[in-house]
């Protein structure tokens, strides 16, 4: 299962892209309530949105974004069948990517 869910919605002249990513987004400041150890920072650093393989938006993030981040963007144009790809990389070197077709 991919960690990324994407929903697109066509509106007059624009396409709304919404995404929900499963990720802990740990700040590195919290301590585990049982072991009393600091939980290592673990957060998404970069998020890229592509429209038919053209980068339309890049986002640099830090741990200030909530757990299981949600984003919504608005793209100009967009036709049914166009491909939207969302990719993320985190500070521990993990990454994931998912694409969807505009309905």
């Amino acid at each position: 299962m991919s960690s990324i869910k994407i929903r697109t919605k066509r509106q007059p002249g624009t396409t709304q892209i919404r995404t929900l990513i499963a990720h802990p987004m740990e700040t590195g400041l919290n301590t585990d309530s049982k072991t009393k150890k600091t939980i290592a920072a673990h957060f998404i650093q970069q998020l890229t949105v592509r429209h038919n393989d053209t980068i339309i938006l890049t986002t640099d993030l830090a741990s200030g974004i909530s757990r299981n981040p949600y984003f919504s963007f608005e793209m100009k144009g967009g036709e049914p069948g166009d491909k939207i790809t969302i990719q993320w990389t985190d500070n521990q070197g993990n990454s994931d990517s998912q694409d969807t077709l505009i309905q």
Binding site: T14, T27, L29, N30, T31, S33, Q45, Q46, V49, H51, T54, I55, I56, L57, T58, T59, D60, L61, A62, S63, G64, I65, S66, R67, P69, Y70, F71, S72, F73, E74, M75, K76, G77
Partner: protein
């Protein structure tokens, strides 16, 4: 070998020092590289003023009515605060979101291409009651608008 223990230690220390400094020199371009991919200096644990200076490079912030920041005035849970930034400024290049009192003030930087409108939503964490500032870089100028959010339960303390 007529080397005393003292001489040996002296030598090995200086060698170690040389090694350390050379490895630091090698590390430098590596750090510079990560700077372009993910701006670590902007996302460090800083005060708001220093973070702001690193973003704008000392340029003044211009208050603007063309940026709309929608965010709840009172948040019960600081771990999950939805916000939306929209702007009618032409040629917007980047959007920055900052929370003044957070340990890491910069929340996110969105780099926009001409294919997207300045209409962004996400959810952020807040440690305590603070001002939330959204900055839009357009035509080389930094425009901003801010709002105070009252947090009744902090979001960074787990």
């Amino acid at each position: 070998m007529t080397q005393t223990r003292r001489q040996f230690i002296k030598k090995s220390l200086s060698l170690g020092g040389a090694f350390l400094s050379s490895s630091l020199v090698m590390l430098k371009p590596l750090l510079a590289q990560t700077e372009t991919s993910w701006p670590i200096s902007k996302f460090a644990h800083l005060t708001y003023q220093i973070a702001l200076k690193r973003i704008t490079g000392g340029q003044p912030l211009i208050p603007s009515k063309d940026i709309t920041l929608s965010i709840p005035r009172i948040a019960e849970n600081g771990a999950l605060i939805p916000f939306t930034v929209s702007s009618t400024l032409e040629m917007a290049e980047s959007v920055f979101i900052l929370v003044k009192n957070n340990p890491v003030p910069l929340i996110a930087r969105f780099t926009l291409s001409p294919h997207v409108n300045t209409q962004l939503s996400a959810r952020l964490k807040m440690a305590e009651t603070s001002d939330v500032v959204s900055i839009v870089l357009a035509n080389g100028h930094y425009y901003y608008t801010d709002k105070t959010v009252k947090v009744t339960l902090g979001g960074c303390g787990g």
